[in-house]
């Protein structure tokens, strides 16, 4: 039982980390109907930025979070205004291809600059943990999980309580109508992608703190996780990514306890497909997003 509880606790904090990766991805998908295949690449860009700040200035990764977030926001805004807005009305696979090409460019540039080696940010607290009864919880992962919850709540508040949030939601629901209300959709799309990139960068920073990352295998895995979580949680609800992340995190760690090898990955994919077939709007998402025809 203690083993099970340990796996459960680990799954919850791991789920928080995964949710942090997915929340920006799900925002862009919901608002712009763009699947951003460069999301993982942006997360790894953030991870490298935090790693550099730590290496050269000794900046603690938790303190680097605002810096990385601001930098990635600017990068994301420029990418959206300069590139993605150019093909936003094209058939869906064009935006998929565009972001795929973008991801290739970013990752190969990172690999040329920093090599393909695994990197990690060393902190005094990342490897330490505290115990509740029989369960050990590492500080680093707990911080990442809490950050995910705080950021999700903050994002949900922005979306429901501020003019900017309303503008983003309105543009996502009906761009034409939103423009008639005086919302500059180009700018709103830029801001949305910027927020998404900033969240990706923050997630990357936390990944670099609790584990290691590289420019070859990490980004693809992150993008795929973000995919699965967004579908599980559903679009159109800011807490969808959090729920999806927790479900995936717990399922992976508890499943890993019961099953051998990488069967747990096969199960995750089966769950993904079943979710899509039975309830395409996700666990707590809004149905309008899955009914959207977008070929």
């Amino acid at each position: 039982l203690s083993q099970f509880l340990q796996a459960l606790a680990y799954g919850v904090v791991q789920g928080g980390l995964l949710a942090l990766v997915a929340v920006g991805f799900s925002l862009v998908w919901g608002v712009m109907n763009v699947i951003n295949l460069s999301h993982g690449a942006l997360a790894v860009t953030g991870a490298y930025l935090a790693w550099l700040l730590n290496l050269h200035f000794g900046l603690d990764p938790l303190l680097a979070v605002p810096v990385v977030g601001a930098a990635l926001f600017v990068i994301g805004y420029v990418i959206q205004r300069g590139l993605i807005n150019l093909v936003i009305n094209a058939p869906i696979f064009l935006t998929l291809l565009l972001t795929f090409g973008l991801s290739l460019v970013i990752l190969n540039a990172l690999q040329l600059a920093f090599s393909a080696d695994d990197r990690t940010i060393d902190t005094s607290y990342a490897s330490q943990s505290f115990a509740i009864g029989v369960v050990n919880i590492p500080y680093g992962r707990l911080a990442a999980g809490l950050l995910a919850v705080v950021i999700t709540i903050a994002l949900a508040t922005v979306m429901t309580r501020t003019r900017l949030g309303h503008a983003i939601s309105a543009t996502g629901m009906d761009r034409g109508a939103a423009r008639l209300m005086g919302i500059r959709s180009r700018h709103i799309y830029g801001v949305t992608f910027g927020i998404s990139a900033a969240l990706a960068g923050i997630a990357g920073t936390m990944i670099a703190t609790v584990g290691s990352f590289n420019p070859t295998t990490t980004p693809g895995q992150l993008t795929l996780d973000a995919f699965v979580i967004s579908v599980l949680g559903g679009l159109g609800n800011m807490y969808g990514a959090l729920v999806g992340g927790l479900v995936l995190g717990v399922a992976e760690t508890v499943g890993g306890l019961i099953l051998t090898g990488t069967w747990v990955n096969a199960i995750a994919m089966a769950v993904l497909i079943l979710t899509l077939v039975i309830r395409p709007s996700g666990l707590i998402g809004k149905a309008q997003f899955s009914g959207r025809v977008e070929v």
Binding site: I92, L96, L97, L98, F100, L112, G261, L272
Partner: protein, 356 residues
Amino acid sequence: VSTETASLAALLEGRPRSLSEQVVEWSRSRTLANSWGALALVALFAAMLGLEQVIEPGTMRLLSAVFMFVAMAQAWNIIGGFTGYASFGQVVFFGIGAYTTAVLMNNYHASFWVAMPAAIVGGVLFAVLIGLPLLRLRGHYFAIATLGAAEGAREVVNNLTPLTGGGLGITIPTFGLEAPTPYFGKPGFYLAFLVLAAASVALSALLARSKFGYAMVAVHEDEAAAGALGINTTAVKVIAFAVSAAIVACAGAFYAFQQIEFYPTDVFDANFTVLMVIMVVIGGSGSVIGPLVGASGLELLSQYLRINLGSVNQLIFGAIVVVVVVFFPQGVVNFFRDAWQARRLSFLDNIRRYRL
């Protein structure tokens, strides 16, 4: 879009015609330009057929890869281009084809000529199995579901170690008495992939002008309207998916035999899917010539970059993909055809069409 609407109109007006009638009619009534196009393709095929006698092995291997991608791009175009269901897991059929072939030849000592048809049957069966539930989904949801199916299938193959060898890979016996079928060698695979490519181009061209082809385009344009016209949309989608799967599985079978030894991560590599999509989109989706141009152009380009640019080749490749998507969103072939028809060559028109 205009040609697709035109074919929908043809479906609305025309009486139902059988495939053979279509072929006869096509051979008689096509415009001169189209006949020349078909003739040029046949001539190209004939020229390529004799080429393995004179070119060096390196070039032969390169051209074999080009032919394989031509076949796979045509396959993706049938489901993604004509029918409009962008599958992001088409590599699953490649992997199934490769593993069916390898398992039959290695574990059961079957001849390649038994294993390859079995691989095609396996691909088709799996396409029907996952197609029936998944083809109800649309857009991104279909894309992700197929991606998930491919990733899941890879993990299953990875863990069925007694049957597939798991992550340690699988080897097809190719030499001596162990070999169920003697190895083809480079010229043999050159011919095999050439025939596969030619067959898939011919199949795609025949499909495009058949009643079934119009049904696929009708499903693409407006599924509800197609259903109202009496098209069994589920059947059209599943059959298109299965035909596409058959071609990809066949390519996987040849690829497995050519590689001799491979791992699940090789033949279930998501990059194969991405390449198929890129080739079709860049060439021009929903046409026969587009995937042909896209696949040969892109594969030759990427090989050229790999040889001449060293470590930055992937970066340049990514940049080219971005630039082409922005400037030729409807594909190179469609772009120049439209430019010719409108007598107006402008890159900005493309950007104006899709930008915000």
